[in-house]
Every structure is written in C-alpha cells, then in structure tokens.
Amino acid sequence: MAIALDRPRVASRSARTVRIRRAVGLALTWVTIVVALVFFLGPFFWILTTSVKANEDYFAYPPVWVPADASLKHYAGLFTRSSGARYFTNSLMISTLSMVAALLVSLPTAYSIARWRFGGGFLSMVLLVLRMLPAIALIIPLYIMYKLLGLTNSYLGLVIVYTVLYVPFAVWLLVGFLRDFPVEIEEAALIDGCSRLRALVAVVVPIIAPGLAVVALFSFIATWNEFLFAIVLTGIETKTMMVLVTSFTSGGTDMFYGEASASVVLGVLPAFVVAFMLQRYLVKGLALGGTKG
C-alpha cells in the first residue's frame, strides 16, 4: 500500500499487479497457516472425540468422527475409579511448587552469571551437561538417596528434582533477559542505597516480568510432562497425571480407550491453558533470552 501512495500516477498498472500479487501472497500464507493448524492440532481433535465416544464406537467403521451421543462418562470413570482427581491435584501442586522454586533458584544464579560472569564458562558448561543427562543415570541413586532421607512419595522430593532439572533451561533464558536489561536503571537504584538483592527484586523483576512469566510457565509445563521420575519416586499419594496416562497406555489399552483418551485430554489441558495465557509473551519471552549468547 505504501508504495502505491508514494507514487500515485506513474505506475498505476504495476501498482495493480503488486496488489494482486500481494493478495495472492496473503491468501497463500493463510492457506499454509490453516494447513499447519490442521496438522498440528488434528491429533488433539481425534483424542477429544474418542474421549467422549461410547465403548462400541472406538473401532466402528465408518468411523464416528463426531459422536452423536457424546458423554462424559469416561471422565467420570477417571475421577471415581482411577482417583483421577488425586492425580490431577498432585500434578497441579507439584508443578506449581516446582515452578516457584525454579524461579527463586535460577533468577539469582542467572543474575550472577549475567552481571559478574560468575563461574566463567564453566558453570554454563555444567548446566549444559545437566541438560544432557539421561534420566536413568540419576534415577536409581536418587531413589536410594531419597529412601534414606525419607523423601520418596513426597511432594518435596519431586519438587526438588524437578527444580534442579529445570534450572539449566531457566538460567539460560534468564541470563538473556538480564543481559538485555539496561544496567543504568539498576545502577541508579544502587546509588540510591539499595542492596543488590533489593535492586534485583524491586527494579529488575518488575521490568522483566513478562520474561519471568514465560520461564515460570515453561517450567510448569516441563514438570507437568515428566513421567519417569514420577513413576519411580512416587507412591500412591503422590502419583501424577503422566503416570495415570502411562498406566493406560503401557500394556494393552483394550476396552479403556475412552478413559485413556480422557486422561490424555486432561494431561494436555495445561498446555492449552498456558499457550493461551502466554500468547502475547511467548515470542517476546524467547526473543529476549533466546537470541543473544
């Protein structure tokens, strides 16, 4: 449009071609986006409809795409027979606590790395290696240690593991935010007599809040999604949603496709919620952190 306004007369013909080309381009863009949406969200649709189907319809042909007599009985079954409510609250609690803990732990560390290059490259390297560790290298020793400390089957035990597992990614993101943060503002606060910690909490945190929100919610999701530690370190009181899903999927689902799909639906719910909550910050959060070394 801008071009057309700049040169009103000279190239009215070429302006039209440009406009048509733009329109076609835009249409193509949208078509591609719709195709991408179908590809990326289609599987969820099938899971959702399966979760409200009658048992007899799982294998019906022609397939039941949208069940006429949708019912929530599989969800009810999940909550009554499989103590789904307990699994769900456990997941909520553990993920929330780990999220808070991960923030509290990684923010000062990131600050230390960003401002003072603490640990040089070494600490960053340690964090990188942490991310590489296969769960299985940790799981048995952790179990043995937890058994001694009485931490198996407790929220605290899981929260500690998840916090530590998420710290590398959180620090990596936060270091980016903090490096981008104008030092002058902080210095002004320090000159006014604030301590470092106070300056961090009172000045830096409010400004990088969107970034922190991204880090926090990503950590929530990461914790929510973990299942191997959750299987080994939990007992009946602390089992999480992922364990429930795996209890349906591992070893023959047979006549429980409805409940299995319902548990998957509940399991992906937070992803949807978080995605909607973060839609404005999703990219911004990563933009600050992800792109600068």
């Binding site: 294998f59 499989s82 795996t246 591992s250 070893g251 023959g252």
Partner: protein, 484 residues
C-alpha cells in the same frame, strides 16, 4: 451446682457412648477388620478396575477397604523390586507375574502358616494342575494365588469355515477339507487361502489370520506354541539353550513365511488390535488370550456373536497324534508382601478375592481382560449362559489347560524372554534370517546364564525341568523332523 453439672455431662457422655457403642459392636461381629485399610499394587488401570468389582464384598464381609496403586506395566517389575530390595514395602497385597517368581518369591509371605492359623480356605483342589504345580510356589512353599488365568485359545469365524463356496475352493486347492486348523501346517495353509479376498461373501479385502507380534514378548508368545509342538524346550540339562535347534528354526521359518497373510501393522500389534479385527469379521481366525471370548460375546460391538467357534490352539501331528502346546503367559498372581504390617487382614482379603465366587465376578466381567483360572469358573452355570457360545468357549479353555506350557521360570526370566522376543521380531521384520536371529538369541541367553552363575541356574533349571516333565512337557529332538 457445679458438681451436678459435671455429673450431668458425665451421664450424657456415658449414654451417648452406649448409644453409639451398641451398633458399632454389632457391626464389629460382622466386619471383623472394620477400619482397616490395606494397600494393593497392580500394573494397569484395568486391573484396578477388576479389583473394584470385589471391593464391596471385601468391605461387607471383612470391613476392610482396599486402596489400589497402579504402576504402569512396563516399569512395574523394576519399581516393585526396587521397593522390596530396600526391605520395606508400602504395599500389603502385591500383584505379580508368576513367571517372575524367582525374582519376587523371597519378598512374599508363605501362605501355609496363615492357612493353619486363620483356617483359611483357598480351594486348592479347584485350581488347574499346571498352576498348582508350577506357578504358586517359591522354594517349595505356596506364596501366591492366581488372579488371571492368562492362557491362549483359538477363535474362529464360522462364516469363513462353513461357507460352501470356501469349502469347495479350499478342497480344490489343498486337497483336504476346510475346517478350523488342528496343526500349524493347516493354519498356514488356511491363512494363505483366506488372505486378500472377501471370504465372508462380500467384496471386502480381508486378511488370512490375526496375530500379535510386537517385540515386547508378544512375538515370543506367538512363536512358542509352534516351538514346543515341534518338541522344543528352553534349555537342556546343562543350561545350553535349545531355542536355536531344529524345532525353533522350523517354527520361526514358518512364521516368517506366513506373516504376509496377516494384517498390515501386525509387527506392532499388541493384544487388542487382532481381537478387534476378529470381532469385526476381518480375520477368520486368531489365537489369543481367553479374555477375547468376552469381546466376541459382547453384543454391542461384536459382529460375529453366535457365529464364533472356540478351540485349542493348533499343534503338530507326531506319529499320528496331535500334540498341542498352547501358551501360559506370565499371568497375574496375588500375594501378601513379607514386609506388610497387616498380614492377617491381607491374608483374609487374598482368600476372599480368590474364592470361587468372587473371582468368578472378576473373570466374567466383560470389561476386564482377566482370564478364568479355576476349574469351577469353567463350569459355572452363570458363565456358561453369559453369551451365545459361552459353553463352547469354556469347554475350549477346559480342554486347553492340561496342555499349556509356562515360561522359563528362572532368575532372569524377564531378560531371557525379552531378548528372544526381540530376535524373533528381527527375523519377522526380515532383518535377519530365522537361524541367525535364534543363534544370536541363544548367545544372549548364554550371556544371561553366565552373568547369573551357570551352576546356580543349572540347579534351578533341573528342578523346573522335572516339574515341567510332571505335566508332560519335555524335549524331543526328533519331533522337528517328524511333525506334520
């Protein structure tokens, strides 16, 4: 004044207590363990569901509540052993696969002392021999009760076998009458015959037969009935693996040849997929767990209800006699943890859930995949009327039980089985020849044996071997040649 008030309060409290105490006392007589909660651990949501069927009865009769923990099937054994190794366990009632008895046995409470102490009745005479002799004991003592029968029978769609046109065509092609297969040779012929056309009279493209061949032990269970029918055995007396002998190779070669007549995707099929294809009339025959029969008889989804046949898994013809060697898979048993602090209550629960009446509820429920395992289950009038053809179905199971073959119940059973199952799928996926695959499985088996101590394994195996012999299973090196 004050004294009076105190007296009044005391009187009221006593009255209240008396009023409350009376009914409590009454209930107590009926529910001797009122207020006790025991913890059970099982390996799938559907097992928890099956337990929930008898929970009301447990509470009514004993006053005990059962809290069931579910650990996903695949990491189940590792997680439970991990807990047991620490010398404690959060569970009272433990579900486990009796094939893994050598791994679990030392953590389980022997039943005999409690049978005497509490006058428990486990109706032992009502349990098939193979279970009684091979599956319930650790170091000679009974430590568990079956929960899930877990044997294979064969199912077929009568529409395929009784259609006149099919019979004519088959006879013309193979020179003998079309009938549900009795031998593996017939099974393979028929799978080839049925594959790829509408044997039900429609113009659909249907499949030759169903199977479950995923690498996490399914492929092994679909190979084994052939292997044993051809005279195979796991090890010789010196712990030398026999799986790569002529019987094993012949069994696997046949499977590799026949796999093309199975539905696409069969290499990753677990139990559910072929069952569904059977009841939807897409495969004419299948051998699988007996619980399949309950789906065949489920009028809401089954298209072959009333048109299904049930029988023993095919075998091999040896000297004019057919030898059947159907699978007994790990199964599920229930036991009381040695580390439980509520052994008495748990023993009572174990008695109740395995008693003929309660266990019948579990194995009859159409939604559970628990298989019947008591002799009385096979004869129960209610079960025999549960769906059209249930009679034939239960007779088939009854006929199957005396012939079943158990897993190699040795320390490391899980590893032996998994390694073999993997190599079998390698051959089925045509990444190795049958002989190569079985040779490398045998090499893996030797590694396991070495690691666990050859002499120790040998001693345990000779015990197992004689137990297997006592139910009629032994090594016949000549059968692989003879078998028809």
């Amino acid at each position: 004044m004050r004294k009076l008030a105190i007296l009044a309060v005391v009187l009221m409290v006593i009255a209240l207590a008396a009023w409350l105490g009376l009914p409590v006392a009454e209930v107590k007589a009926a529910r001797p363990y009122e207020g006790t909660t025991i913890r059970a651990v099982v390996n799938a949501e559907y097992v928890k569901y099956s337990l929930s069927l008898v929970e009301p009865a447990i509470y009514d009769k004993l006053g005990i509540k059962v809290e069931t923990e579910v650990i996903p099937l695949d990491p189940y054994v590792a997680k439970t052993l991990l807990e047991f190794n620490s010398g404690k366990s959060p569970w009272d009632l433990v579900m486990f696969g009796p094939s893994f008895m050598p791994d679990y046995g030392r953590h389980l409470e022997p039943l005999q002392p409690w049978i005497e102490k509490l006058k428990l009745d486990f109706a032992m005479d009502d349990i098939p021999d193979v279970y009684k002799k091979l599956m319930l004991r650790h170091e000679g003592k009974i430590v568990s009760m079956p929960y899930d029968g877990d044997v294979h029978i064969m199912f077929w769609n009568k529409a395929a076998f009784e259609r006149a046109d099919n019979k004519k065509k088959f006879k013309a092609k193979h020179g003998y009458d079309l009938a549900p297969p009795k031998t593996w040779k017939q099974w393979d012929d028929q799978a080839a015959f049925f594959h790829g056309w509408g044997w039900d009279g429609t113009d659909r493209k249907l499949f030759g037969a169903g199977a479950s061949l995923k690498g996490n032990n399914y492929s092994y269970y679909w190979w084994r009935p052939r292997f044993f029918a051809y005279g195979g055995q796991y090890f010789d007396a010196g712990m030398k693996p026999l799986i790569n002998g002529p019987a094993g190779v012949r069994a696997l070669e046949e499977m590799v040849k026949t796999i093309q007549y199975y539905p696409p995707g069969v290499l990753l099929f677990e139990s559910e997929e072929p069952k569904t294809m059977l009841i939807k009339g897409e495969v004419p025959m299948l051998f699988s767990w007996t619980s399949t029969g309950k789906r065949v008889g489920n009028e809401k989804e089954s298209l072959i209800i009333g048109k299904a046949g049930f029988g023993i898994v095919p075998g091999a013809e040896i000297d004019g006699k057919i030898v059947h060697r159907p699978d007994l898979t790990p199964g599920r048993s229930m036991a009381v943890s040695k580390y439980s602090s509520k052994k008495e209550a748990t023993m009572k629960v174990l008695e109740l859930i395995s008693d003929p009446e309660q266990s019948l509820k579990i194995v009859m429920d159409p939604k559970t995949i628990m298989d019947p395992w008591r002799n009385s289950h096979f004869k129960a009038p209610a079960f025999r009327k549960a769906f059209p053809g249930a009679d034939e179905y239960l007779d088939a199971i009854l006929k199957t039980f005396p012939h079943v073959v158990p897993d190699p119940i040795l320390p490391g059973a899980s590893e032996y089985m998994r390694k073999l199952s993997f190599e079998i799928t390698e051959a089925l996926a045509k990444r190795k020849s049958p002989k190569e695959a079985l040779d490398s499985a045998a090499a893996e088996w030797n590694k396991v044996t070495e690691r666990r101590g050859r002499d120790k394994q040998k001693a345990l195996w000779s015990e197992k071997m004689s137990e297997m012999k006592s139910v009629g299973i032994e090594y016949h090196p000549d059968w692989a040649q003879k078998a028809k």
